[in-house]
Symmetry: C3
Subunit: 145 residues, 3 copies
């Protein structure tokens, strides 16, 4: 069973490491700008780093959910590759947002695009499973036949 | 294996689409009220939409965790049906909160109720598995015998 | 299959119950200090409870992700034991933060330590699987041989 999920698991742990990196950046920024918890507001430089981390945090469960559905129901390798692309886009987003509000835009659009592809791939994979399971219609076999 | 999780996977992807819809609503509200990131405060109309999305985001991993445990350890169809009910309640919550703070109350209580049922079903399913696995006591067989 | 995940499932449901407890604490604090949603600012006593819940919420998907990878790829019992330790540290963190900002520090460092161990165990387990699957090298067998 593990050979059907090992790439998904590897990308998941890489994603966790990325989240840990973002969280550490917020801790460093808190020290740099002297903003102690529970405060979350401060100069724009701090607020951009803080919001970049919060936004990445919000998307993380969504990302994991579609990464795994896409990998289980469509293709593990494709899902993992898209997952790596997403994590790279998130890194660019964080670094861009840290520099300026406008520099977050290009990578956030790119990461959203990758996420939509993962959603589409998940939906397609699950749809094909339903068709094959309940109607007996195997689309992929048909296409390659 | 996939036939034990395909309904859970379908509800998961539907939940992701709902989260994406909430996130888009916040983006539209930011444009409408002219509130650029990283700012998160503004008129009450904006703050209600923003908080509705943040709250739904916070509950999403909790929801997925119990949806899957309930489906794996108790009954996939029941878990998926409760999952759909939860997503419907969350939609009503978001729309209610958008209109006024008080209109969020009825659907948030309803969604919390569905979540508690999913937690109870998960706990019951896991408990039965422990009893059957370690004590050799099969409760469901006893009840139907 | 369920006997490879039942301890992970039990710790997951326990974690959900802990999150529910934190969320209820915020609701009680909102009533006590008279802070109605969508407002999230108020006296430091309220803001500490609010931030403790938000922080625990942010870490919950990260925790679940490594709990399951560690359990699936390394050892279920060890992962579940570390998971219980993490949930206990999170409880101490919440109670400490509620009392004062400085009392959150010891348990947050402890919980971060447990999380890093879970990440290391996950990474090690996945690495061993890759080595055994693609290179044919079984490290654990070598160590015990």
């Amino acid at each position: 069973m593990l050979d059907q999920i090992h790439w998904l698991a590897a990308v998941t742990v890489l994603g966790v490491l990325e989240q840990a990196y973002f969280l550490l950046q917020v801790i460093y920024a808190r020290r740099l700008f002297g903003i102690s918890p529970p405060k979350t507001s401060g100069p724009p430089e701090f607020e951009r780093i803080f919001r970049a981390q919060v936004n990445s945090s919000e998307y993380f469960p969504i990302f994991l959910a579609v990464l795994w559905q896409a990998g289980l129901f469509f293709h593990q390798g494709l899902a993992a590759a898209l997952g790596l692309l997403y994590l790279y886009a998130r890194y660019c987003y964080f670094m861009g947002y840290k520099a300026s509000s406008s520099e977050r835009l290009a990578p956030i659009y790119f990461s959203a695009g990758v996420l939509w592809i993962l959603i589409a791939v998940s939906a397609l994979g699950i749809l094909c499973f339903f068709l094959s399971h309940y109607v007996g219609l195997n689309i992929f076999q048909r296409l390659t036949a």
